[in-house]
């Protein structure tokens, strides 16, 4: 899941200072799950902005709406219609960066502003704690490391074992919140009876499938541009 954190309210407020009718758009999927951009947060932000502008003696019309996903045309369409049909002159989206782009591509002259900072693909380690688990590098190597990714979870993206900063199973960069992933890999490989594999040197990675290779896209031929749909 994509994890995002809310932007400070004053920052978001500045984005829309010169606008009059603003829609706060929540997203019902990832950012709802990570408690940063679902319907509840959209309502709270809308209320907060109304209060802030009211107190600054510049009351504005600020509404909120939340759709299931802001990364699919079908779900976004009603939102776009609402924005254009009801005369909103700015949109703040609480979706991840994908949602911001997706709306921006479709909103013509109406500006869209990010309400959250998109951080990583992560999992809930315990209620209230999300941790990065994958960095979308485009070529998974976790078959070599017992399913645990040193690229996403090692602060130095080391491929061949823990650096000297691994102490008591924690990473020196953030010992409180981050385990040393190489300790995890070591323990897991030991459990799997595959410790000897860690003696092999993992060669330098091909970063081309990652963002380093340029902007990525994926085509799924089996449903892509079906001819009967375009007839």
């Amino acid at each position: 899941m994509i994890v995002a954190d809310q932007k400070p309210l004053h920052e978001v407020k500045e984005f829309v200072e010169t606008h009059q009718k603003i829609l706060v758009a929540g997203c019902g999927t990832c950012v709802t799950v990570c408690l940063s951009g679902g319907a509840a947060e959209a309502r709270l932000l809308a209320s907060g902005l109304r209060i802030a502008f009211q107190r600054a003696h510049h009351p504005k019309t600020i509404e909120d709406d939340t759709v299931l996903r802001q990364c699919d045309e079908e779900f976004v369409l009603p939102l776009l219609e609402k924005v254009k049909g009801e005369g909103f002159d700015a949109v703040i989206t609480l979706a991840c960066g994908v949602g911001v782009n997706f709306l921006a591509d479709r909103l013509g002259a109406i500006p869209v502003f990010p309400g959250v900072n998109t951080t990583f693909y992560g999992a809930v380690m315990e209620p209230g704690l999300w941790a990065e688990m994958c960095s979308g590098c485009g070529e998974c190597i976790t078959h070599l490391t017992g399913g645990i990714c040193p690229i996403a979870r090692c602060s130095k993206r080391l491929f061949n074992g823990p650096c000297g900063g691994s102490e008591k199973g924690r990473c020196e960069v953030d010992p409180l919140n981050t385990p040393c992933v190489w300790q995890l890999i070591y323990d897991r490989m030991k459990e799997l009876g595959r410790l000897h594999e860690l003696r092999n040197i993992i060669p330098a990675k091909n970063w081309r499938p990652a963002l380093d290779g340029g902007v990525r896209h994926t085509v799924r031929e089996r449903i892509y541009r079906l001819e009967y749909k375009n007839r």
């Binding site: 823990p162 900063g165 003696r199």
Partner: protein, 308 residues
């Protein structure tokens, strides 16, 4: 000979090698560096030139190493993968070679959040192991990482670091073995205080025959004060100072603590000389380079061998 460096010669000649650390200056002026060089010249076989240590900006290790070379101290150029991708790394190695540098230490480098530019983006295109492998390929096969040939031959004595005190302990020797397999000719360890654990580490290394495949230089750092000892014990990850040493430092008045630190170091050096598989020492007298002559003298490690 892989490089023809003095360090390589000393080690291969069976001598107990001594290296030390020489931090580059925080500015463009080489004067301070030259001052440090003067302190250590003649007392060590080679000196490590750190590469933006603890991720804080310093004069580049390539540049500073060249200055050492010019002033008669053989440099061990450190190179971290934090700040350069495989393209820059290979280019820098070739450049360093051209400047006369024949030893290098391949490291991943401290994370930038510990340094003075914590907002920087890191690179970590490759790790230290892969850097070792890459430079060895340049040297032994005359090929770049992508397989393209380089013009001419290159000699380089390749070093790597080992930390016997980090976790998981059992993996430390495996990692050492991997570094050797990747191309390490010599190893410099993290500074040692916990001799018990180091002995255990060496025993494991010997069991795997690693001491015969490369030269292991034991890292040591003189304690300047009890405060420093406590700080390192508490705050430097992967470093533990035994209670015994802390007690010893505590047992002397503040003004005598530096002396006591050196005394401890000397005892340590003596023991290390007796330890099978230890080929030398690497003295990291952090911003205390002026003590190197005294330490070497008292350890009866001078004069340094002249090998040809």
């Amino acid at each position: 000979m892989k490089s023809g460096s003095n360090l390589e010669k000393v080690l291969k000649g069976g001598h107990f090698a001594v290296t030390c650390e020489c931090g580059p200056p925080r500015g463009p002026n080489p004067d301070d560096l030259i001052g440090k060089i003067d302190h250590i010249k003649g007392f060590v076989d080679a000196a490590n030139v750190t590469d933006n240590p603890t991720a804080s900006v310093r004069m580049s290790s390539v540049g500073a190493s060249a200055i050492l070379f010019r002033h008669g101290v053989e440099p061990v150029m450190q190179m971290v993968t934090r700040d350069r991708n495989r393209i820059a790394a290979q280019g820098d190695v070739l450049g360093a070679h051209a400047l006369g540098i024949r030893n290098m230490l391949c490291l991943s480098g401290d994370h930038q959040t510990f340094g003075n530019h914590p907002h920087a983006k890191n690179v970590f295109d490759i790790d230290s192991m892969q850097l070792l492998h890459m430079v060895r390929t340049l040297r032994d096969e005359g090929k770049m990482d992508n397989g393209d040939p380089i013009d001419g031959k290159m000699g380089m004595f390749l070093g790597a670091a080992a930390n016997p005190f980090a976790d998981p302990f059992e993996f430390r020797v495996i990692r050492l073995a991997k570094k050797i397999a990747a191309g390490a000719d010599f190893i410099q360890t993290q500074c040692i205080y916990d001799m018990d654990r180091f002995r255990k580490f060496m025993e494991m290394a010997r069991d795997m025959g690693l001491h015969e495949k490369c030269f292991i230089l034991a890292g040591v750092t003189p304690l300047k004060s009890l405060g420093m000892a406590r700080y390192m014990n508490r705050s430097v990850p992967g470093m533990s100072i035994p209670q015994r040493i802390l007690e010893r430092m505590k047992g002397v008045p503040r003004e005598a603590q530096a002396k006591e630190g050196i005394r401890i170091l000397l005892e340590q050096i003596e023991e290390l000389q007796q330890t099978e598989g230890v080929a030398g020492i690497h003295v990291m007298a952090i911003e205390w380079e002026e003590k190197i002559p005294e330490i070497m003298e008292r350890a009866r490690l001078i004069p340094r061998p002249q090998v040809d």
